[in-house]
């Protein structure tokens, strides 16, 4: 009995690690575990099912992520892995790990602030520049190169930068 349990938890860990290694195709420094997109890994015998949650309703990366999870699991030896999308509870940037936030900053993208700042209307947010750390920054455009990002500029070092919007 004990051996079976060990085998299962070991298998599940292997499956989790394989799925967790998949990166966001648009922000390749972040894994789906960093993002909080990976919700669950369920084993049924040798079959594995992974639950993920979409970030934005129209995020084109989700199809790609689902496909890459299947590939990663096949490579790790799991046959016919399944990916299930769960809508509830809705994904929020509050689920992004601390490690993920610091990776984003190093990559040059300002990490998301706490989700209550979303309702701050008309430039009440203060986003620190990921390059020089200055808070003397301005919003250039509410929507950046992908739907999860806004375009900002630092007035101290003059660098434009992406801000990962809170969601």
């Amino acid at each position: 009995m004990v051996t079976v349990l060990d085998r299962d938890s070991d298998l599940r860990r292997r499956a989790w690690d394989a799925a967790a290694s998949v990166v966001d195709p648009e922000i390749p420094v972040l894994t789906i575990a960093d993002l909080g997109v990976l919700r669950d890994v369920v084993l049924d015998g040798d079959r594995v099912e992974v639950a993920i949650t979409p970030t934005y309703s129209g995020c084109p990366a989700m199809n790609m992520i689902a496909l890459e999870i299947e590939v990663a699991l096949e490579r790790a030896g799991f046959r016919q892995p399944k990916v299930r999308t769960v809508l509830s509870p809705a994904w929020t940037t509050d689920w992004m790990s601390e490690e993920g936030r610091s990776k984003l900053r190093d990559y040059g993208i300002a990490p998301p602030q706490a989700s209550n700042s979303r309702r701050a209307l008309f430039g009440e947010q203060a986003v620190a520049c990921p390059q020089c750390g200055s808070k003397d920054t301005e919003l250039l455009s509410e929507f950046g190169s992908t739907s999860c990002k806004a375009l900002w500029r630092c007035k101290a070092c003059r660098e434009p930068f992406d801000y990962f919007k809170c969601h």
Binding site: P54, Y56, S57, G58, C59, P60, L87, S88, P89, A90, W91, T92, R118, R119, L121, F122, L140, S141, E142, F143, G144, S145, T146, S147, L151, K165, H167
Partner: protein
Amino acid sequence: MPVANIQVSETPLVLYALRRADDALILGHRLSEWCGHAPMLEEDMALSNIALDLIGQARELYTYAAKAEGKDNDEDKLAYLRDVRQYRNLLLVEQPNGDFAQTLVRQFFYSAFADLYWRAMMASRDTTLAAIAAKSEKESAYHLRHASEWIIRLGDGTDESHARAQAAIDHLWAFTGEMFAVDEAERALIHAGIAVDPGTLRGRWLTTLSDVAGEATLALPQNDWMQQGGRVGRHSEHLGHLLSELQSMQRTFPGQTW
């Protein structure tokens, strides 16, 4: 060979999901028409991103409508194989882009409503609709902020931008009443705690509008005669033209996939 339209059994729940899905798809398609044509690069990206959010919302809602119907339909069939009279969207969202002011006023009217609507729908007893609402609510908060900032910039800008923004408000006003109308099918869903009574949102919607219009030095029309028909498939001439483009690939090559 023409491709036959699908038939949809519109139970109250199917119809309800379909109406919201059609709103999101048609408005998303309209915004996508700006892709490559917006007055500046940032705005081109903004409008395309908002379009993407809306089409994403539409996909969830179509998928749910198909599931609730329990027949052979799916999100693609619902979007591509229904004709004009089978579409259930608001007349507001199918109105042409016009100039930039007209696009942004349409977006402002809709987003100010959608933001309140999705926030209220998070409390729906229907768990799927509540989950879709939780996601859409976050997106519409950004859409509303984007549109509001533009309304202020246009209204409080040059004489030309002010005149165009005011003309757009006057022109589109008659299409806003439909957002708050309720028919019998929806009344039953409201009673069951599945749908929100949009009438309860109108006061706050008007407050948002007058706050922003005030700052933009624009006036809201006083007339309350409202155009209706979209929810039962009576559309303006514009929707057919839009659908002919939206559906042309599936109509030409039935069942094709990427």
